[in-house]
């Protein structure tokens, strides 16, 4: 468009930008559509960025954190969550085709739970978002089964020798969510403040919830 002098081999120099990869027709159309919608005041690019962050890159573990905080705060919900994780999680509005059956496994002083998918990367995404890269790695998948205590120590989780470590292997049908132990010193915290202590790794079992002062 900008070059009419037949020097096609230099046609990328006209605007001073070099494109390291070819720009697809769809990419150009997507940009044009966004520009049109922005101009009409229907969308903003910031709002699209936020949607991508929230839904696309990582729905995040905040859903799971709310489930855990509710279970810590409400004994009846705690009971329902352990009896039927899928239904109790759906009560909070978290559902998804990949999350049809979610089994919640509770940590106690006697038993610590860790989740893995030894075959691939099955993960309770409606509550935890997308899995971290290490969760999908072959070393984690193999080693957490063979030597869970050593793997947990590498994550900084040191458990008493008397605590049994239970490893749960996720499948296409059944996903697991770890219900961590409520940290000490949190008796007065409201549910929202409790949720802020619940890390993604604490719901996988490769971490523990934050201490209240660290929140």
């Amino acid at each position: 468009m900008h070059d009419h002098d037949h020097h096609h081999d230099h046609d990328h120099d006209h605007d001073g930008h070099h494109h390291p990869r070819p720009v697809s027709e769809q990419e150009l159309r997507t940009r044009a559509l966004e520009a049109t919608l922005v101009e009409k005041g229907i969308v903003t690019s910031d709002a699209i960025d936020a949607i991508i962050d929230r839904y696309v890159n990582d729905i995040g573990p905040q859903n799971g954190a709310r489930v855990v905080a509710r279970a810590w705060s409400d004994p009846a919900y705690h009971e329902r969550l352990l009896a039927d994780g899928t239904a109790a999680i759906a009560e909070l509005g978290f559902t998804g085709e990949e999350g049809h059956t979610i089994v919640v496994v509770e940590n106690t002083p006697d038993a610590h739970n860790v989740i893995v998918c030894t075959l691939c990367s099955c993960y309770p995404w409606p509550v935890l978002g997308l899995p971290p890269t290490w969760y999908k790695s072959a070393p984690y998948r193999a080693r957490v089964v063979a030597e869970p205590r050593a793997v947990l120590e590498e994550f900084g989780v040191e458990l008493p020798d008397a605590t049994e470590i239970r490893v749960w292997d996720s499948t296409a049908e059944v996903r697991y969510l770890v219900l961590p132990m409520r940290p000490a010193g949190t008796d007065t915290l409201a549910e929202d403040d409790l949720a802020a202590l619940v890390t993604r790794d604490s719901m996988i079992g490769t971490g523990l919830p934050l201490a209240p002062t660290a929140a």
């Binding site: 229907i42 839904y55 729905i59 999350g99 995404w125």
Partner: protein, 86 residues
């Protein structure tokens, strides 16, 4: 949150539950659509039908990447709705 109606009711390309994108424009087109459809008052049923028609128009090529095919149709359907409604 997984409660967005446009995401919850559609069979988006996934692998093991993860949304699959091969190129950034696909995520961008999805995000643009989620907001624009809501702002334009396009219902989930209307959108599902518009998307199904676009998928039919696009045709099925077994060699084409499924995410590319899906989001190309998504973009086509969205362009048409925006042209008609915005």
């Amino acid at each position: 949150m997984t409660d967005d109606p446009y995401l919850a009711t559609l069979d988006l390309p996934r692998t093991n539950g993860e949304l699959v994108f091969d190129e950034p424009w696909q995520a961008r087109a999805l995000g643009t659509g989620v907001i624009a459809l809501r702002e334009l008052g396009v219902g989930t049923v209307e959108w599902r039908d518009a998307l199904a028609e676009a998928i039919d128009r696009h045709g099925h090529d077994p060699d084409e990447d499924p995410a590319n095919a899906y989001y190309t149709a998504w973009l086509d359907a969205l362009e048409r709705i925006v042209a008609a409604r915005a």
